[in-house]
Amino acid sequence: MKSKKEAVSIRLHQCAKSFANGTRALQPLDLEIHPGETLVLLGPSGCGKTTTLRMIAGLEFPDEGGRVLFGEDDVTALPIEKRGVGMVFQNYALFPNMSVGENIAYGMKIRKIPAGERAERVEKLLEMVHLQGLSHRRVDQLSGGQKQRVALARALAMEPRVLLLDEPLTALDAKLREAVRSDLNKLLRSLGITAIYVTHDQGEAMALGDRIVVMERGKISQIGTPQEIYYHPANDFVADFIGAMNRVQGIVSGDRLLLPNGSLPLPDAGNPMNATQQGQPAWAMFRPEDVQVVDITEADAQCLRGKLINTFFLGDRTRFEIEIGAERPVIAETSRRGWWEAGQQIALRVPAEALVKMAPAAVKENA
């Protein structure tokens, strides 16, 4: 099919962005994206992920001193027309006055590639995104999923060095999103192209990304693989943003953390997480799916005791809210069948390995 070009690395060096009205969208940023990897920029709205993407694209330019490099080429001064990137927009940005085939062929038409060759490539691209034969369809006759694939085909038509995707699945509904996500994943892997993907959906980020960049208020909070981000969040923002996180405060005593209604086992002394001092207050964080809910009759000394205040049946899992006398109730999630009524006394078990993070209590938490 297409000749596989060498995938290119992308480097951002001290790229900051302030807008005309004074707002600082990005603090000076350093980022290195490996050739062929799919990197996801993840964060809440306003965190700067879209600004970063647009800087890589060439739609925005970094403030004085920032540099953008594609491989060895310094592209900082090049506008998007000259950077050779492929971009998929959030609402697809298909040209309504052109057919599907004309949309896909637009980049080729600009470069004066002859009509015969254009038509051939358009067909190949349509095949690649499973839209064979739709070349003459008008754009407004397509469904959301089809439009998204046309946008993708159009971006890939000129074999760009870099593929940029700005929340491409946000406009689709949930079921469709999952199906398209899987197709997209396969496609990106098979092409081996360097791709940067912006989203605010963590599930999407973890499914698609080789590495994830979690951003907050114009800064990078953490870069890592999905597992690293999930199991070893670098700070409280990441811990809270990715999945739900339980947080309880107690006193370190021996190899346990003492809480009002029981205690939690701490990891072994050799574990770096056990860096708190004896007798000192400390926070412990663990994920809801690691909490084992146990009937009060089967509780032992290792368990925390509490009262079940709410139960939510979510179909594939059940969520429990349990009051243990801490600041906030503990959230537990299990996919096993088992049901307790709200108001009952209940017991919890959290294995020591489930502890995601520990911190001395003197440290101020993020709101």
């Binding site: 694209a57 739609l59 506008p79 998007i80 027309e81 000259k82 050779g84 990137v85 492929g86 971009m87 927009f89 959030q90 609402n91 940005a93 298909l94 040209f95 309504p96 006055n97 637009y106 980049g107 600009i110 470069r111 407004d140 006759q141 469904s143 959301g144 999923g145 946008a151 159009r154 971006a155 038509a157 000129m158 509904d173 949930a174 079921k175 469709l176």
Partner: protein, 297 residues
């Protein structure tokens, strides 16, 4: 035609059909509503509908009978008048569209101090009657006009063209630009910037983006405001009257027939024809946007 997009599984279902606003208060006796409409409709029928019907009859009451309606095509004088009206209106429309696109896009895309002031200045002449527009042209290009004084100072000879075709053209341009520019700015505001960014990402240069993306997107607005502009120009009377040009546009011809020669039948038939032309143009504009009004000039 649009295909119905099949409902995707998992899409939020529509539980009940959308209610039309006001549907709930439709009680028995729709006829009562007609009483609300009575004053307005009575006025309208008595003073426009019936007189217009009468005018159509008068138009056919002359020596030529109903053939008078074709006289705009057959009579040399009237035909020349019609042609010059249509030609002038067409040129004015094209010029206005070109100017409005350039200025409208510029204003919509560049934020700078005083931008809203500029836009206000550009639309303020909307309220001028044609006579005032004619006077403005005289101020610019008449015997004591600005351009005349300027060329006098520069070359020693005054350039006076207010009373010629050029002056008429300027006058028509003067009342057309404010009308069209508002529509263009409104349409430019609705343009999706990601379409242009997508074109740029595929390598298109500014003129290609303009030709392939921007102008096609603006086309409905341009056609409808162009039609309004054309209709207003065709029907314009006050401006031509003030400038007393020796080119007789059709409204002036009608006026002369009526007041100068008392040719009621001719005046009637010609004005019906004129009315049909302007109405058709505006119907075209409305079919594209749903609004389309020409305030007279």
């Amino acid at each position: 035609m649009k295909n119905a997009i099949p409902a995707t599984p998992g899409a939020p279902g529509v539980l009940k059909p959308e209610r039309k606003p006001g549907a709930g208060v439709r009680s028995a006796g729709n006829g009562v509503w007609l009483w609300f409409a009575a004053p307005g409709l009575t006025l309208f029928c008595a003073f426009w509908l019936l007189p217009m019907a009468r005018l159509v009859a008068v138009g056919a009451s002359g020596p030529d009978g109903a053939m008078a309606y074709l006289s705009v095509l057959t009579n040399r004088h009237y035909f020349a008048s019609l042609l010059s009206t249509l030609a002038l209106s067409a040129v004015v429309t094209l010029a206005t569209l070109a100017i409005s696109v350039m200025v409208g896009l510029f204003l919509q895309r560049n934020r700078f101090a005083g931008q809203s002031v500029l836009l206000a200045m550009l639309t303020f002449p909307l309220a001028f009657p044609g006579v005032v527009v004619g006077f403005m042209v005289i101020m610019l290009a008449g015997r004591q006009g600005l351009i005349g004084s300027f060329t006098n100072w520069l070359f020693g000879e005054s350039l006076v063209f207010a009373y010629s075709l050029a002056g008429l053209f300027l006058g028509y341009l003067y009342f057309s630009i404010p009308r069209v520019i508002l529509t263009v700015v409104a349409a430019a505001e609705k343009l999706d910037p990601s379409l242009e960014e997508a074109a740029r990402s595929l390598g298109a240069r500014p003129w290609q983006v303009m030709l392939h993306v921007v102008l096609p997107a603006l086309l409905p607005a341009l056609i409808s405001s162009g039609a309004i502009c054309f209709a207003t120009s065709v029907g314009a009377f006050g401006t031509a009257f003030t400038l007393a040009a020796n080119i007789d546009v059709l409204p002036m011809t009608i006026y002369n027939e009526f007041t100068g020669y008392a040719n009621f039948a001719t005046a009637a038939s010609l004005s019906i024809v004129l009315g049909l032309i302007t109405w058709a143009m505006l119907a075209l504009a409305r079919s594209l946007t749903g609004s389309g009004v020409a305030a007279a000039a």
